[in-house]
Every structure is written in C-alpha cells, then in structure tokens.
Amino acid sequence: MHISEGVLSPSILVAGAALTTAGVAIGLKHIDQKDIPTVGILSAAFFVASLVHVPLGPISVHLILNGLLGFILGWKAFPAILVGLTLQALLFQYGGITTLGVNTLNMALPAVTCYYFFGRVVRNNSGRLGFSIAAFACGCCAVLLSGILVALSLYLTGDAFLLAAKVAVAAHLPVMLIEGLLTAACTLFLRRVKPELLEGQYAQKL
C-alpha cells in the first residue's frame, strides 16, 4: 500500500499533501488531553503492523490496521497514521517522504469514512452481535477502500485503473479478512474492559 517515490505525478503529490494537511488539522482539533495516550499507542500499533506480513499468493502484503484506528480514533486517525507512516518511511524506507501526503490520505481517509459508516452502531448502543459485525466491516472496508484509493492515485498518473484496482484488491483480500477479525476482537475487548474509551469518542459532537 505504500506508494514509492517517483511513481506519481507532482500534481497528485501536492493534492494528496494538501488534503492530508487538512485531515491532520481536523484530527488535531479533536485530540483532547486524555486522548493523547490512546492516539500514541494506536500510532505505535500502526507503525509495527506493517511488519506483520501475510504470505499468500505471489505478492506479499502486510497488515495496515487503518480500520482499527478509524473505529477507535475517528478523525484522530489522520495524525496517528501520519506519524506512523513518517517513521516507516524514515526507518524502513517503505513509501517515501514525497509520497507521504498521498499515502497518509490513502490510509486515513478510509479510516475516517468507515468510522462514519460503522461508528453509528456504537452510538446507537446496539448489542454485542451488531457491534462485532460493525467492527469487522470497519476493518474490512477500510483496507478495501485503501486499495481502491491506491489504484485511483495510480490511475490519475496514467496506469490502467481496473487492472491496478484488481491487483490491489485481490492482493488484500486475505488482509481484509484478518483485519476485520482483528478489529472486531480488539474493539470487543475494549468494549468489555474500557467502554468509555469508545463512548468518549462517539459521544463527541460530529
């Protein structure tokens, strides 16, 4: 999912950076003092998740965890993902510094979108089953949307969209499944032991 340097055209890089800046600004506004440790821990989890590699098929892919971040953090996923990606680019040479804006957008925007789509369940205070399904869908769809956004960025530079999208989505099918399960497990656990962590976020005015 990390787009390397020198692949995208400058206009897309600038547009991605601008949108990411806006997203990060909104995210930072949402961060309260008591949220800071949560954002930090999830950012660290995101940073490490890229090292968990799923060895299936000819292409190797890794966990992303943007669904989990979106589900728990909402807009705050933007700064958390930006920090994680910056460190991945600097320390692991995944992606690159110039593509940081586009890569952050590709991973954080699905996180926020899924938060709005599936976060409703938590606000409506539904049962355990509904909650698990919503969390699973959140983890799944965030990865799916990320794949589509990556394909879209490549398409805007001149690649064939359908082919790029097919490759990105097909390669991430196992990751989608794993991330869905992981998101559901993590959030169910949080709901049991620390529900205010979820409710605090969802009680916020949107």
Binding site: S4, I41, A44, S60, V61, L87, V150, A164, F189
Partner: protein, 225 residues
C-alpha cells in the same frame, strides 16, 4: 466503591493493552524473514549483457514486473518483464550511464544505476585487441601477451597454434565471471536491508516520545488556564 473498581478496570486495561502490544511485536519479529513491502532491483554487467534481479525485501522474487532501462538523461531505451526468478537480462544498448527502473504493482518502484565505467573496461580492451590484430596481420597471433613463448619454443607453439589474444581475453573474462558469480549473488543479497530491531524499537520510542511532548504542552496550556 465505583471509583476503586474503575481504577481496577483501568489497571487491567493497561496491562492487557501492553500485553496485546507485545503480542503484535512478537508477531512482527516472528515474521522477520518474510518482511515485505519494499521492492529492490540489482543490476550487474557481464560482457555486453546487463543482468537484473528484482525482489521484495525478504528475498522473494518479483515476477512479471516491468523493468525500464533509461540512459543518464532519462530517455527510455528499452523495457522488459521479469521472469519467474525475478530476472531480466538485456544486451547493452548504449555504453553510457544507465538507470534500471523496476515498476511493480501497487505503486512500488526501485532503481539501480550502472555507471558508464562498468562498460568501458570491457569495450576498450576488445577495441585494443582488434586494433592490435589488424596491425600485426593475420599470421602472428599473440606476441607479448605470452612471454613463455620466447623462453620455451615448443610449448609456446602449441599454445600459439589455437589461441588468439581475443580468445584469451574472452576466456579470462568468462572465468572471472564464473568466479565472481557468488560474490555478485552475495552483493545482491546484502542490498536487501530489512528493518532491524533497533529501527523498530527506535520508531516506537519516537512515538512514545511524541506522546510525552504532546502531553507536556497540553498540560501546560491547561495549567495556564
């Protein structure tokens, strides 16, 4: 005692989240041989052929990816696809600085530069030998290159009979390439730099440090209020 139980839950939450965190970390380390998501390409020159090898960090080859060959000014000279072993070879199109660019799926890209000097060694020698050949004519084949000829006429004659200077050069080059093959392989493997524990821990440290800085500033602004 709602406060007390709250504290207890908070404590179990913290210990559990820490154990979760370490579980993820453990998973990451377990998979280190297969860590991925960085692609790389390595190219070397053998005679008038350039060989390239493409792989994902962790050693897995990249099949069916496009390799572009550009000259120093960025003009595209040729392109091709990697085979099942992630390799792609081509005849040297131009003896200038070459840039070999790998473009794999999902926006992955890597580059390797071949300086012009890598070709020059080979071409100059062959040019020289051709000039020398035309100077001395077809009859005398190798002279100064085989000093043993002057000392021992018999042996030299048998050598002299079949081998030209060009052929010797060719043989030496072949032997050298065969001898150097493991070193080239080693080199191509050593380029694959996986994230080390130091880097992973460093990154996590950075994030926790940032959390500390953020808390510090939030705290200060709250205090001043």
């Amino acid at each position: 005692m709602p406060k007390n139980s709250d504290k207890l839950i908070g404590k179990t939450f913290i210990t559990r989240s820490i154990s979760c965190f370490f579980a993820v970390l453990w998973l990451a380390f377990c998979n280190t041989p297969a860590i991925a998501h960085k692609v790389m390409i390595f190219a070397w020159v053998e005679g008038n052929t350039v060989h390239t090898e493409s792989k994902i960090s962790g050693g897995k080859e990249i099949r069916d990816a496009t390799v572009f060959v550009l000259d120093g000014k960025g003009n595209r000279l040729l392109e091709g696809k990697t085979d099942n072993k992630g390799r792609f070879s081509f005849k040297t199109p131009k003896e200038t600085d070459l840039r070999v660019v790998l473009k794999a799926s999902m926006g992955h890209r890597a580059e390797w530069k071949i300086p012009a000097e890598d070709f020059k060694g080979v071409s100059r020698e062959s040019e020289r030998s051709i000039i020398q050949k035309s100077d001395t004519g077809p009859q005398s084949k190798v002279d100064t290159f085989l000093p043993s000829k002057n000392r021992e006429g018999k042996v030299s004659k048998s050598i002299d009979a079949g081998i030209t200077r060009e052929e010797i050069e060719h043989l030496v080059n072949d032997a050298l390439e065969r001898k150097l093959a493991p070193i080239v392989d080693l080199l191509s493997e050593s380029i694959d730099k996986r994230p080390t524990i130091t880097e992973i821990m460093g990154g996590i440290g950075y994030i926790f440090g940032l959390v500390g800085v953020a808390l510090y500033f939030k705290n200060r602004s709250n205090m001043s209020k």
